[in-house]
Amino acid sequence: MTKEDLLLQRPRGTRDYLAGAADLIREIEATIREIFRLWGYSEVITPTFEYMEVLRQGTGPESDEMIFRFFDREGNILGLRSDATTPIARLAATRFNDENRILRLAYLTNIFRYVEPGMGREREFHQAGVELIGSSSPKADAEVIQLAATVFEALGITGYALDLGEVSFSLGILEDSGLSPREQRLIRGALLNKDFVTLKEILAAAHLPSETQEQLEELLALRGGVEVISRAKELTKSSTSQAALEHLEAVCELLPDQVLERVRIDLGMLKDLEYYTGVVFEGYVADIGYTVCSGGRYDRLIGRFGADKPAVGFGFGLERLLELKAATAEDQKQRVVVVDYNDPLRERAQELAARLREAGHTAVVSLNKTESKEAELNVLVTADSRFEIRTKDQERTAISLDEVVDFVNELWG
């Protein structure tokens, strides 16, 4: 590409948000921020870039190529924030090292990942989420799951559902299976991608007794209502998996009915970020083909920064919410009164604009004729100190500032 080509383009995987979309995304953020506040989660803001070593704790060494990286002048490698949880884990470990303290933290931030842009995947995107740090109790898991459901409700997204899993369930099954570490790794990869053909192929090639093979196939793909937990309990002997199932069951019992009826159990669920250790969940909506919210328990991540603290959290993808809301949002075009004037009445025009703003209306003093002509509502201050009001379908003359304000009040509520 030549320099001229680049001049007009955005880098791949980035977006411009124009007036309507930017307003909508801020509105979504405001709704979410208010819910987080009401639930006692305080917002934190971490740096846009961090030392590579910090971010790598979250991506794992195998996925660190997704981090946008650069050098500072001392030669340190820095990276753009590639997920919200890892910097908060660093912060929690270094600033709040009190044994039994519970932390409820929230964030609304942009995230950068060097991924191939595609459906629902950008290189810069925005997330809003929470981290509940300091408790390993199922009560903490249930709290954040209920909070995620509340966010859906507050945004007026009615058709949502939540998938619930436990990553140590399949871990236990695999450890007990007699499969080699390589086979176990391949199976975890297949489960992550929901590639059941590969899963079956690996199991078939592993020369297990046919009964074991069938059982593994069933267990690793178990999905359905809460009753699949008891089915899994009957089928598995692994103590790790049993513990996972008991924890999951406890979480389900703690969830209120209106949340529980949204929940499906997916025991094969794994996550692409490797720090998850326990309960994991995903929120989705039938209308769009990808996950809207994703979260889970990560009991060892904060430990990598020197303070062993259990934690659980989630993040919503704001672009994905925007896509859902944009479909239903009314025309968001902002209503502006353009005040124009005949010389030398600029001061009078300023006065009118000030009065309109006081009354809660957006008002600008016109800078050229185009601005006045394109206005949905235009007021011209004339030499005899009258106001000529013009909208698309009416024209009238007012004699006082109050009369103009009353007119706009009536027109736009």
Binding site: M119, A161, D163, K194, D195, F196, V197, G224
Partner: protein, 218 residues
């Protein structure tokens, strides 16, 4: 309730897939069905709809959720690299992804290729990863058809293509030197449809697997 939508590939998989869907009781076979004219089939009650699309477009329809399910060859899936769930190997449309060279070529395996050799293929992504995994530097040329012609015309040293019986290769004086992998048709689903419409998707998996089981036991 919305019908379940399934993308069915035209092309070499078209007839075997329709036959399988008919055997599983989803559709009636229409002997003079012309895939170039018809775009859609459905069950009598309208609960299952089958969209007839170009094979390479199936993964796109599925990933974006325009359809819930689709049937695609593993070759097409590997080449597309889309995010979707692979549910079951249908065991039809079996063939091999191979590298072939002209009969009179001295090359007997991939590593014999000189650096910078040109490879003609419809599968650039699969080819790139195959040669990269063998540490061979080649130039991949993506062609849209008649791949067998490329060596003859002096465009490429070797080709990467799929072959069922090998007869087209033989007719064009080409010889297989590497088998990259075997491929067959897969039932795939959109990741969210898999969650939202799980019971119906499982029903299709079961009914198609049953047909496949009958075939295997004959």
């Amino acid at each position: 309730m919305d019908p379940i939508k399934v993308a069915v590939p035209k092309g070499r998989l078209f007839t075997p897939v329709l036959k399988m869907l008919a055997q599983a009781g989803f559709i009636d076979l229409e002997p003079d069905l012309d895939p170039e004219r018809r775009l859609m089939l459905s069950t009598p009650d309208g609960s299952w709809q089958f969209l007839l699309v170009k094979p390479a477009d199936v993964p796109v329809y599925v990933e974006y959720g325009a359809v819930d399910l689709g049937v695609a060859g593993k070759d097409v899936l590997l080449e597309a690299g889309r995010e979707l769930c692979e549910l079951v190997d249908l065991g039809i449309g079996k063939c091999r992804l191979i590298m072939a060279v002209p009969d009179d070529s001295p090359i007997t395996k991939a590593t014999d290729l000189l650096p910078g050799s040109r490879i003609a293929t419809k599968f650039p992504r699969i080819s790139r990863s195959f040669f990269a995994s063998h540490g061979i530097q080649v130039e991949i040329l993506k062609l849209n058809g008649s791949i067998e012609l490329a060596p003859k015309a002096g465009l490429a040293t070797a080709i990467v293509d799929i072959t069922e019986t090998g007869s087209t290769l033989a007719q064009n004086n080409l010889r297989v030197v590497e088998e990259i992998r075997t491929v067959s048709a897969r039932l795939v689903s959109n990741k969210i449809s898999y969650k939202v419409r799980y019971p119906l998707i499982q029903e299709m998996v079961k009914r198609l697997s049953a047909v496949q089981g009958e075939k295997a036991s004959v």
